[in-house]
């Protein structure tokens, strides 16, 4: 070799060129994929917002009509009823699911999660046959580094398990659960304590009960593993989970739970230890609207 320096210089330049080209191509692909996913999700969000606004305006017009009818002078004297009748509890009518279009667009969508005033506003996918199918795929099933939020395969909405665990990527861009660690701040938690899960059947509301850091343990480690709790068959199992999350919690949220309550657990990667996880657990509170079955609307010309 006459000129080893020249040879190595060229070799390094080649490696550098390959690395930089691959990095560039990957970056462009990732950005394109992320952009495509963002646009498709924006469309779904838009459609949901339109549905919500329509439902709200319908509700307000109904209440206006009701108040108008109350203010009208009563023309007829009501006949005295023979016996007092019990006033039936008003049962709210099921309304149209605001995420109907999203459910119809992808059968794998189990719910839509929203934490008001945070970037968390995403579909939650459930694929029991392959838990990680959406880990690196977008809602449209195409490659996307952000992936989708995934409902753990051992969690189930129907029948509802005691704990629903949702996993999501901790993206530096803040997408998915990239901002979940903001919950380390008690003040942030106080302002964003409500989590909404729009399922096919109803709107489930949750309140944050515990926030903590944990990790994935070895199979043989006899420690509390939040990711192993799905169904409390007994008070003892429930208490074990509840007491552990409360003792691990970074601060007291003031929310308590008892056997029979249901939880929603949000989990994402953090790096305080190897295989670290950041976890937000919320307790289900009073449900919101019940929804009509999600079905395709019949064509107008039919």
């Amino acid at each position: 070799m006459k000129h080893p320096r020249t040879f190595f210089s060229i070799l390094l330049a080649c490696i550098a060129a390959v690395c930089l080209i691959i990095a560039g191509v990957l970056m462009i692909r990732q950005n394109m994929n992320a952009d495509r996913s963002r646009k498709s999700l924006d469309l779904l969000r838009e459609s949901a917002e339109v549905s919500k606004e329509a439902a709200l305006s319908q509700l307000s017009s109904e209440s206006q009509e009701a108040s108008a009818s109350v203010s009208e002078p009563v023309q007829e004297t009501p006949m005295p009823s023979p016996a007092p009748t019990a006033t039936p509890e008003p049962v709210p009518e099921p309304v149209e699911n605001p995420y109907r279009d999203s459910f119809l667009a992808n059968d794998d969508m189990a719910a839509w999660i929203q934490i008001p005033d945070t970037p968390v506003d995403y579909p939650v996918m459930w694929t029991p046959e392959d838990e990680e199918y959406y880990l690196l795929r977008g809602f449209d099933k195409k490659s996307d580094n952000n992936g989708c939020l995934i409902l753990d395969t051992d969690s189930c909405l129907d029948p509802l398990t005691t704990n629903l665990i949702i996993h999501g990527h901790n993206m530096k861009s803040g997408a998915m659960f990239g901002r979940l660690t903001d919950y380390e701040d008690a003040a942030f938690c106080e302002e964003h304590r409500n989590i909404i899960l729009y399922t096919k059947e109803l709107q489930r509301n949750y309140e944050v009960i515990a926030v903590f850091r944990s990790q994935v343990y070895k199979k043989t480690d006899p420690v509390f593993k939040y990711y192993k709790f799905f169904q409390a068959q007994s008070q003892e199992e429930f208490d074990d989970f509840y007491q552990n999350i409360k003792s691990l919690s970074l601060y007291d949220t003031g929310v308590t739970a008892e056997f029979g309550d249901h939880f929603l657990t949000l989990s994402t990667c953090v790096y305080h230890v190897d295989r670290g996880r950041f976890v937000v657990v919320a307790k289900e509170v009073e449900s919101g609207d019940r929804y009509q079955p999600v079905v395709e609307k019949e064509s107008q010309n039919m």
Binding site: M27, H167, V223
Partner: protein, 287 residues
Amino acid sequence: MKKIKNTITLLTIAAMLFLLPESSCLKAFADEPVTYVVKYLPGENGWRYQDNRSVFDESGSVISWELYQLREVLKAGDTIVVYNDTENAPDLDLGSTRFANLTISSKAFSIIHTGGVQDCFVMNNSFCAVNGDVTNAHVYENSVVNYNGNVQELQIHCGDKITSSVGVGGTVGHLYAYSDSQAQTFFDLYNFQAGSLLIDQEGKLTTPDWSYSKAPASQPVQPTPQPEVQQQPEAQQPAQQVPASGGNDDEYDAVPKTGESNLIVWLLCIGGLCLCGSIALKRAGRG
């Protein structure tokens, strides 16, 4: 210089072809199903396996491999035959791959962890616990078996009476126990609730009536997700921060990895370093 340019061009084209958006549609042809035989060898103090066999050869003429390699090569269509005659053998961990056939002949009690099995056969006089969901489970005579996952179809084969004890931690879609020799059906029941099916060693079903149905459901039963077998609460300790240890993924619980990939950052760093090195070498050469 021309050759170098050509090389760089070729490398660039290769990299771009490899990374084309549709490159993911390239498919590799799957290998043929393989039969592996696994046995606990007290002399080796561990489980060993041999491939393309259903009987373990201990003569030394067939090479046996360490189990971790089996977890790496095991694929969906494969068959595994398990033998064990040693009491207190450690758990047999077959990894997280769901495979086609698991046949167990275990005179001593064995605990087998799987990622799920299509057909599971427990041969006569076997003692074992199987973790993972099973589609079709067959239990032969004089066996004691505990399935800790869901079982879709459980068939118990027997003579004039049931001589096997079977428990299931998950749901059971259909229990069918019949006599091969006497054409007699002992049980033909459906839709057992999670953790309810238990047949004792006298062949009696101890499950309460309300936990199963005598007629098949009109639709396939959706297995109720079950909590995995957990440590007893008193054995649990509060979560601790375990120091980073690297370690094999198989040793850890299977939880989706939700970290962000740093591949691009690494590539940029390597590219930058190589470029700096190249420039430095070039300057040194001139000097």
